[in-house]
Symmetry: C2
Subunit: 320 residues, 2 copies
């Protein structure tokens, strides 16, 4: 039985690892990652983080397991990074490479799924059996936990919540379809609509402190809306409505107890969540009175992936 | 350990029960059901079916469990029919009522979820860990099996696949939203569009054998399209496109290995499935080459609910 579980969040600029024990993250280590490095070098760097943690904490190697949340398409059954475009990785057997070096078992999953499991168990979904994480960043990602288990789908290809069409024939998405949730609810979409509204409304408070609309961020419209700016209010209200349509869809399909909102836009907190809750609660198929539903902000920030990767490793090691 | 599992499919006109043993359905019994009967009478009738099966097959009561798939909103944890509008049922503790009479354990779930589990284990999804059943009938219903388990959501309120908006601002749905999948992909929607096209095209082959457009059914457009009728072809092609958008959404979110299409419209078989597959395979986020995906017709027809209810009872009894 493995008693100690180390989680690693692998990213395009850096990797971060830590020991998750009794719900606490300790001995956090970090290293840089580079797209130009061969996969073996990156794998070795991750193993280095694990070795540092083992050395610092003195946990017995025989009772340790490692989980990695990685970007890209992951086949978690075999621990393979099937494709990570930014790093030009194709079929990198990351789990096996690390196991050979470390002499401990290594499990790999998609970073979004790892974050969802982390939030479900240790963050916004703590105490729930069913939760969904929706991250509003460059794109819209997410992860699903139902019956207490991560729902990854065949070859871990599920959880693509952003690629659900909510407006057939709408904006062209990077996936080739038109009208995806992501085209309306990502930070990218919010910024696009903010800039459009700024062009149209030179009098808007969205211009305060910026010289060109290209300086606008995902926070611009929310900030100006708080000041009562009409154009900004329309941008926010339209954003919340589109986000709400997608959230209601996910709730009707899965009916989690908690929807956890993460990613950059979630930093707006209650400014985002309050109108979102109102929109969602009025429209879900089974009422909130029948099946309680909460909509909360992600709690673990950038550490969600470490928590989740460690949790997944602990669970998978316990099963096999 | 319960060795024998009896499944019951409760409907608004009749109830059907049978013993599911080693994947085979035997000793099928049927009785009428009436909305005007008190719930206790209906529960007693269901118990009667179970008694008949026990008497006929000689299975030991102590080793028998019963599963019921019921219409309406079900709290499967407590075996309660929370609401079944057609029968004016509110908070009927069907499971407990039957347990008291029968002296065997009774588990209750939603009929659509029961059918999804039946198809997943014994029908179109046999051998798969992850499958989704989408039924195209008066509405669009469904059920989700992931990681081999039924995904019911909080208080069994999930699986409302029909109430996923695919066209924001579109046709008004019975649920109060606009543009739900169900408004475009149910048999009802297909018939609506068929009748509209008939009115517009008096020359169409959709008129063959019918005097008024009100006689058109869900099969009318498919039949005329096979004869090469242009207006009918447009109805079918638009129906498949809308159905496809919803199916791609479900696949991107959950990535099952198999999507099982059931309900009246599924009787069109390959006439429906072939163009549907083409639409879906071209649009799903992770390619079919990466994660194989099949789209098949439901195999168990009206027996899916019995199979699934029996399977659920067998599983739940094994756990507790």
């Amino acid at each position: 039985m493995s008693k100690y579980s180390i989680g690693i969040d692998l990213g395009g600029m850096s990797a971060k690892a830590g020991l998750v024990s009794k719900g606490l993250l300790t001995a956090v280590k970090k290293c840089a990652t580079r797209a130009e490095d061969p996969a073996s070098v990156t794998a070795a760097a991750l193993c280095g983080l694990v070795e540092e943690i083992i050395a610092e904490t003195g946990i017995p190697r025989a009772e340790t397991v490692v989980g990695v949340g990685s970007p890209g398409t992951i086949d978690s059954a075999s621990g393979t990074v099937v494709r990570w475009t930014n790093f030009h990785w194709e079929n990198v057997p990351l789990g096996k490479m690390m196991e050979e070096r470390l002499g401990v078992r290594v499990f790999v999953t998609n970073d979004a799924n790892a974050a969802a499991l982390g939030e479900a168990v240790y963050g916004g979904g703590k105490g729930c059996t069913d939760s969904v994480l929706i991250t509003l960043g460059t794109g819209v990602g997410g992860g699903i936990i139902m019956n207490g288990e991560l729902v990854e789908g065949a070859r871990s290809a599920g959880g693509e919540l952003g690629h659900m069409v909510i407006k057939t024939g709408g904006i062209l998405c990077s996936c080739g379809r038109r009208g995806c949730f992501e085209c309306y609810s990502s930070a990218t979409a919010l910024i696009r609509e903010t800039r459009k509204a700024m062009k149209k409304h030179p009098e808007s408070a969205m211009w305060s402190g910026v010289k060109s609309e290209s300086e606008a961020t995902g926070l611009t419209a929310f900030a100006a809306a708080r000041k009562g700016d009409a154009a900004a209010k329309r941008v926010v209200s339209s954003y919340v409505k589109n986000l709400g349509e997608g959230v209601v869809n996910v709730v009707n399909i899965l009916r989690p107890e908690t929807v956890i909102i993460g990613g950059g836009v979630s930093n707006e907190g209650e400014n985002l969540l309050e109108p979102l809750r109102k929109f969602v609660y009025e429209r879900i198929y089974a009422s909130k009175e029948y099946a309680p539903l909460s909509i909360v902000k992600a709690e673990l920030g950038n550490d969600a992936g470490i928590y989740g990767a460690a949790e997944l490793a602990r669970r998978k090691a316990g099963k096999k």
